[in-house]
Amino acid sequence: MRELRYREALREAMLEEMERDERVFLMGEEVGHYQGAYKVSEGLLERFGERRVVDTPIAEAGFAGVGIGAAMAGLRPIIEFMTWNFSFVAFDQIISNAAKVHQMSAGAIKVPIVFRGPNGAAKQVAAQHSHSCAPFYTNIPGLYVIQPSTPRDAKGLLKSAIRSNNPVIFLEGETLYGVKGEVPDEGVEELIPIGESRLVRPGADCTIVTWGRPYYTVLAAAEKLSGEGIDCEVVDPRTLRPLDTRLMVESVKKTNRCVVVHEHWPYGGPGAEIVDRLQREAFDYLDAPLERVTGLDVPMPYALNLEDKVLPTEERVIDAVKRVAYAS
């Protein structure tokens, strides 16, 4: 194993898959000459040239659609949204076309495409630039939705996404790009299957399900809680659609308590879906109502003092765990 940053892990995944398969190409705003708005694609233009690393004008609906069309004809595009906030102008392409054509054509047409880019709040980029997009896309049959928390998951899942024969929504995080973590050594290929959750931290007293940016908030909170004698088990779904509840259910059967922590808004989405599944699949094992710690139900304000209130904090996680553990 070696240490890589999340952004480097993503870059390696693209690089390896582009070397492996000529049909794979990267397209988006500033991905080439500028080396990526967040430098994820740094060096790829030099390596693969303008044919396969394609800079576009600001025309998300256009290049998302071009990608879908190219995929229908046999290519395997990676479409980068500079941020997922800009995917909304391409929403129709993703929902009405990419997610639908396989079934509409009775399986005759495949759309092997990956849409990727940073998702969620960054820092003080305000209401139009801080959307946590999982709920919008997990609602759509016909799509896979992946939101990796660590460099290793980012690499292994992006490689699987690129090899998938279906449209994949791949949600990264601007605040995660600099995070370091262990990734298998060069030459050791790891494909992490889409739709498999991961046990992050074993524990006996309370299950916490989390992914994305709050993953790190939760790990810090779990550390503090263990100092207070509450031992948390942490599960990361990694893929949000399809959702793998196996580990969560097993965990809840053991701990009898669960808190779900996510950045997206509380109304619906994968957070609410997980709660729904757990109350059905582990009903007899629950000793307390499930709790959620979520992004607050407001558009993201610019001011830092308010943004800090909106995003899940260690404090809120600790409080929720204590509530379900009746330890407060």
């Binding site: 800079d55 004008p57 600001i58 256009g62 305000a126 630039h129 304000p301 610019y302």
Partner: protein
């Protein structure tokens, strides 16, 4: 040729804009300002010229590069700076930040951060003017990078079809983030697009405030008197990077230095001296502006933070009387 007093006023305003943003950049480096900060430095003549031409009842829309136009329209430097500092005294009470200045009382309907998203809104306020039989006009600014997105096409289509009283001002500063225009558009002259939407097109340099004012005036007049929309391409240049995080490595220093020869502020300054204004009188204005901006920074610093209670209570508008 305008009279000296007009030019002096315009010079002062451009200095306010310039100093405001230089100070904003400094405070960004100090961590007092966060998020994205896009500076208008180099483009000031355009915003000043537009506000000179408009009436109080008119509407203005801008992108995230919005400090200049807000100040030109009469927003105080204090309200602007406090917004950047995320304070309750800011023009958007700390909720908008740099990209989302608002000054509704002055018809400034926002800085908008999704490329192409606000063009149809501008057609919408123009629609209201027509609907209500008012002679107000809407001016909508956007960048050269915004002409390829669907929002541009649809807004232009509707405005052209319905002959709405709106002036679309494309501030062509040659770059969309790191991408020069020749890599985003097969056209050199963007104004020819106007024809396809059944509206008048115009194209001119943006560094001479007098030229901009005269040409904008024609378009605004046309809109006000029922002649329909205009699409204007103003050729300009931003002296700073796209935002604070952009070191602008994609252009040469020679190019930048050449462009700075046409700094709109230097252009007015020289004009004024040509009209017999003493250099010392201009320096006095500069000093006065420095003080105004220092005062704005102090005000922003000392203002109370954005209010948490407003965060919940402003999500929805109150119901009741409609």
């Amino acid at each position: 040729m305008q009279n000296k007093d007009d030019l002096l006023r315009q010079y002062r305003m451009m200095m306010v804009m310039r100093r405001f943003e230089e100070e904003a950049a400094r405070n960004y480096a100090k961590g007092k300002i966060g998020g994205f900060l896009h500076l208008y430095i180099g483009q000031e003549a355009i915003a000043v010229a537009v506000t000179e031409v408009l009436e109080e009842r008119d509407y203005i829309f801008q992108t995230y590069r919005d400090h200049g136009i807000a100040l030109a329209r009469g927003m105080s430097a204090k309200a602007g700076m406090a917004e950047l500092f995320g304070k309750d005294t800011g023009c958007s009470r700390g909720f908008g930040g740099s990209m989302h200045f608002f000054d509704v009382d002055r018809g400034f309907l926002g800085g908008w951060a999704i490329v192409g998203g606000h063009l149809a809104l501008a057609a919408g306020t123009a629609f209201k003017s027509k609907y209500a039989g008012e002679d107000s006009v809407t001016v909508c600014f956007f960048g050269d990078g915004s002409i390829n997105i669907g929002g541009f096409h649809e807004a232009m289509s509707l405005a052209g079809l319905w002959k709405l009283p709106v002036v679309f001002v494309c501030e062509n500063n040659q770059y969309a983030m790191g991408t020069p225009l020749e890599r985003t558009s097969p056209l050199k002259d963007l104004s020819i697009k106007a024809k396809g939407y059944g509206m008048v097109g115009d194209r001119f340099d943006g560094h001479d405030v007098e030229v901009v004012q005269a040409r904008i005036n024609e378009a605004v007049d046309r809109a006000r008197t029922g002649g329909g929309p205009t699409f204007i391409e103003v050729l300009t240049y931003r002296f700073r990077g796209h935002s604070m995080s952009d070191p602008a490595k994609y252009r040469t220093t020679t190019e930048l230095e050449q462009r700075k020869q046409q700094d709109p502020i230097t252009v007015v300054r020289e004009k004024l001296m040509g009209l017999g204004v003493d250099e010392s009188a201009l320096d006095d204005i500069d000093l006065e502006v420095d003080e105004e901006i220092d005062e704005a920074v102090r005000f922003a610093d000392e203002s109370p933070p954005a209010r948490e209670d407003l965060m919940m209570s402003t999500v929805m508008a109150p119901e009741g009387e409609s």
